[in-house]
Point group: C2
């Protein structure tokens, strides 16, 4: 789904720090606090740097229109509640999820280390970004195994159902490796991520059968028909969509019922024209693998990865991101020329 940004002739290559600074300026200019701007800018620049284009600068106009609409509080201060030795609850106070995670991050790490496992339940939060940046650093910098789930907005039909109910409800996972970047995946429990459907619609590409239905509930390969009152299908294919649907349901239970956040079908942003961010919850579980019995965890992950390679799996989940990251850090982050001009204007407050 991702066009190759490096080979696109209309791209400019922007140093990562410059891109991040510009994004921070945009966030601040459009109503966030300095702290929130720094966190979201780093998140968004990171996605662009790693070639995760559907969650890179593609999202900036949506952030800006959402902030302008008053739907989200860009200056919210998250409230961290230390519920139990392994359980932290955070009220994001109608702000973004990433600052809520950052506010509780050190406590989560400390609890995972002292208890072996700890849970962070974020509610009243807006998550409009890729999910893997929430767990990758916990594995890379802290040596923890981390799993996170977030629900979004009703756009996925449950298995056997007629109308949209679940969000794209991704699951992200990260585990440290010995002497290498962590093993990370981030997968939507829908057949395709919502951002990728939007990108396909813009590009005029069709999508495979089984990705979505139109407003009449009929299967369609036209992304615009999926967006215009239709819905996505759970991942799993013809015979396995009930499994994708069950996992999506689990994400609703964990990210909303367990955190005290909204289910994907429970909020109504229509009173805030321009609002685009799902107002839901997020759950993060961190595990300290140093308690593993008798074996070194990171070495064991290497053994598994070597076996995957021997079995013929040529690319690990996350490999493409690491490859693009390396290129971006060496040569600059590829940004579409027209988009770059748009960003410069947004930074001026236009």
């Amino acid at each position: 789904m991702h066009p190759s940004p490096v080979s696109a002739p209309e791209s400019v290559l922007i140093p990562f720090d410059e891109l991040r600074s510009l994004l921070q300026q945009i966030f601040e200019r459009h109503g966030t606090s300095t702290n929130v701007a720094a966190i979201l800018a780093d998140n968004c620049a990171t996605a662009q740097r790693d070639g995760a284009l559907s969650h890179g600068i593609f999202r900036i106009p949506g952030y800006v229109s959402t902030l302008k609409s008053g739907w989200v509080d860009g200056k919210a201060t998250p409230i961290v509640d230390d519920k139990a030795p392994g359980f932290i609850a955070v009220d994001a106070a109608n702000g973004f999820a990433q600052p809520a995670l950052m506010a509780a991050r050190n406590l989560l790490i400390a609890k995972a280390r002292s208890n072996g496992i700890a849970l962070l339940a974020i509610r009243r939060s807006h998550h409009f970004a890729a999910l893997w940046p929430d767990v990758e650093p916990l594995a890379r910098d802290e040596g923890l195994v981390a799993i996170t789930v977030v629900n979004s907005m009703a756009c996925v039909v449950p298995s056997g159902g007629r109308s949209a109910l679940f969000g794209t409800n991704p699951i992200a996972f990260a585990a440290p490796r010995a002497g290498s970047e962590p093993l990370v995946f981030d997968l939507a429990t829908s057949a395709i991520a919502h951002g990728d459907i939007q990108i396909a619609a813009r590009a005029g590409h069709s999508v495979p059968q089984g990705y979505g239905v139109d407003k009449h509930g009929q299967h369609t390969t036209e992304p615009q028909e999926i967006l215009d009152g239709g819905a996505l299908l759970p991942f799993g294919g013809e015979h396995g969509a009930h499994k994708g649907s069950a996992l999506s349901m689990m994400v609703e239970v964990l990210a909303a019922a367990l955190t005290g956040g909204n289910f994907s079908f429970e909020f109504d942003m229509r009173t805030h024209p321009g609002a685009q961010t799902p107002y839901t919850g997020q759950l993060i579980i961190a595990i300290d693998p140093s308690l593993t019995s008798g074996q070194n965890f990171a070495d064991r992950c290497e053994t598994l990865i070597a076996a995957m390679s021997d079995a013929g799996q040529s690319r690990l989940p996350g490999t493409r991101r690491y490859e693009q990251r390396k290129l971006s850090m060496e040569h600059g982050v590829p940004v579409d020329v027209a988009r770059w001009r748009e960003l410069l204007q947004l930074a001026e407050g236009q």
Copy 2:
């Protein structure tokens, strides 16, 4: 995949307690301790009762031949190691996983209550049963949310690979509901469970395209070709099998690397003719949802389920099991007549 046991004319209806007692006798007669026999008999009779036929009495000959082979220790005493306030490690000592879970169960529940979340890591264990019985009681009887993963034996090709590496690696989830049986699912991360492929092969049914490959790595719809040196594919269908594969990889990391157990490709049972049980690990996470902020968790699950019904999803995961359970408890557990005779003979030690 499951033939309806109730309508099969060659079935007898056995009271649940009678079936369980007979199975206990079989296990004891074939080399387990009384305690292990009681736990495995309850597990296997429960699966048969609930119509989970691929993990019901269908498994008994495999248990018996495995015990006879000396591959598993039916009298093993699990060693429980209280690693941290939220982390228990159990060495199953080459015994079955279910007695290892039972040995640590009360400690797991107590830790989940006092910490909010707790983890049970079982290693050196044999799991030859359905996975949902390991979590359903934690939700139903204790009000906990529980997730478990177990790896098995190499029979699934990783995404893009050529040869079998992962197990069928199921994920099971249970959450309490207000005034109803818990919400439970148990899904193989392979396109089909191994037991169901065996049942399809016996019945002479074909399976859909995308379930497996033959020994040459070619897609096949013949279950026997999948069993004869072929392999299963991860679930997810033509465009989503990389997601099923990523989840299966996660199960290897959690159930084996994190517990200290074997990966699905790391043990060799060929020196024990008749052995059939995967010698791996299992991870169970239990969460106390009473710490949820400001809302009643079980009520919230009801809200979600009502919305799933409103969206047109007619059957929840687990509904079929609960329906068959009710029938079995009222009328007896359906057992094929020929199988019942076989069980009676096995109980006599034949």
